[in-house]
Amino acid sequence: MWDKAVIMMIIEGIGETLYMTLISTLLGYVFGLPLGVLLTVTDKDGIRPNAAVYKVLDTISNIFRSIPFLILLILIQPMTRAIVGRSYGSTAMIVPLTVAAIPYIARMVESSLKEVDHGVIEAAQSMGASNMEIVLKVLITEARTSLIVNATIVTGTILGYSAMAGTVGAGGLGDIAIRYGYYRYQADIMVVTVVILVLLVQIMQGIGMMLSRRFDRRRA
């Protein structure tokens, strides 16, 4: 059974999984990073406190984070269909994955940015820096190590979600694991896909940690 077709299928699965995971994470950051910045900036200790804006963003991101991914996937199927044209396949899965990623990323970004020492922000303010300059040159730059570490965690989580999406025909390794391992009782294929998933997470984790260390200047 380990013929060419199965091997090709697994390679294709890896490709689809990486495609879904990386594109969703990237799109997630396109929306989640500004959202995280807004959450940090408008919080009561932020550089431009705004209780109303914070409360709204905070509530929305909590609601979306508390919906289990599989439910979210089904809930937003009409939206997925409207954007992609269909609700199955890896490209379609990017929509729910991104939607799930955005609030999660926003929270991660918020927690990274809040680690930045308030004194450094104050120093920038005392030099006449604008809020935009503080966000770009102080918050994001000073928090970059933590942002990279968190991006690694986010990617791992999205990879896990993409495998879950396999149950509804997302394609990718999760799909293979479920179709062969669960429906056809071919445990060996399932084990292989699981091992590959584990390896993928390991590799991403390794790359993330290496990058964060390379960019960290805080150690003597």
Binding site: M127, G128, T141, R144, R218, A220
Partner: protein, 336 residues
């Protein structure tokens, strides 16, 4: 002369859940250009809030702050940011950008001001030379000692070419030796570039070392202010006395006896005043404490004497000391 910083009836209240905390209460103070002005008080007295009101990092809830005659409360956000560029600030914990190296930290304010990168770097090297750290240009803050970090912070402040420099407990995290060298550097900057310096501290030693003037803040209010010499020779407020008498622990044992504190200025130290007095009155006095302090480069002697039990004799002695043009005060309300 118009003061460079004019503080008028400044108040700051912080609203907490159900209480209002008054951090500053009706503070009025003029700081003249070129001064090194000390603001001293215990922790929690409101001095850090006061210094943050001078560049509106904290907006006062009452009163006015004028910088060079400009009312800060009337400036727009943008104008305020421009004004802040001429008011530098250094901090207890240095607040350097940890992910930037030394020279890029110094470049930061010039970057904000929109200066070309090459020119900013060239100037940054000059400022690093002034603070004696040109060799560390490529190092990261984490590789520097506390004193070196504060020097980088000072170079960074110079880079915005300020007319005022606010120092918020700038030496409180440093050892005594490093403190001395940083204070020396601040003094040089004051003298060479004419930058007005406001020094926030809880240590009288810092004020004595470099300040020309001092204001004493107690529970959010201005207790006393004047030249360092005036305050040192004759502190009036309770808080000023407490700060100046910090070193007199041993004297507290003599509580209840009649004691006076005398301060010698330069000319009076040539005459053996105490010995002459003892000879004249034929009554002994007990020297409880004697010290020389360096006040802004001038040595000042101070001494605490326990006077004889006889009240009339004591009064005469005080008159005698005053006649010798010494600064004399009774330590009656001093309870340690």
């Amino acid at each position: 002369m118009e003061p460079i910083i004019k503080i008028e009836h400044l108040s700051k209240e912080f609203k907490l859940k159900d209480t209002t905390v008054t951090a500053l209460n009706d503070v009025c103070l003029d700081i003249n250009g070129g001064d090194i002005y000390g603001i001293i008080g215990m922790s929690g007295a409101g001095k850090s809030t006061l210094v943050r009101c001078l560049n509106f990092l904290e907006r006062p809830t009452g009163g006015k702050v004028y910088i060079d005659g400009r009312d800060l409360s009337e400036l727009s956000e943008r104008e305020l940011r421009e004004e802040r560029k001429s008011i530098g600030m250094i901090f207890q914990h240095f607040n350097l950008l940890m992910q930037r190296n030394v020279i890029d930290n110094v470049c930061f304010p010039m970057e904000i001001a929109g200066m070309k990168k090459a020119e900013a770097r060239r100037k940054a090297m000059e400022y690093l030379q002034i603070v004696g750290l040109e060799e560390k240009a490529k190092a990261y803050p984490a590789q520097l000692s506390g004193g070196q970090k504060q020097r980088v912070a000072i170079a960074r402040v110079l880079a915005s070419d300020p007319k005022i420099l606010l120092c918020d407990e700038a030496t409180s995290a440093l050892d005594p030796q490093t403190t001395k060298s940083i204070l020396q550097l601040l003094k040089e900057i004051n003298q060479q570039y004419g930058i007005t310096i406001v020094v926030i501290t809880h240590e009288m030693a810092v004020v004595q070392e470099i300040c020309s003037h001092v204001a004493i803040i107690d529970h959010g209010s201005l207790a006393e202010h004047g030249t360092v010499e005036q305050i040192f020779q004759a502190p009036k407020s309770r808080e000023a006395k407490r700060l100046i008498y910090q070193g007199y622990e041993k004297v507290t044992e003599m509580k209840g006896r009649r004691c006076v504190r005398i301060v010698f200025s330069e000319n009076s130290s040539f005459e053996p005043v105490i010995a002459n007095m003892v000879l004249a009155f034929k009554l002994p006095v007990n020297i409880l404490y004697a010290n020389t302090r360096n006040l802004d480069g001038v040595a000042k002697g101070e001494m605490i004497l326990q006077l004889p039990e006889d009240r009339a004799a004591g009064d005469k002695m005080i008159a005698h000391l005053k006649a010798a043009r010494l600064s004399v005060e009774e330590l009656i309300d001093y309870v340690g």
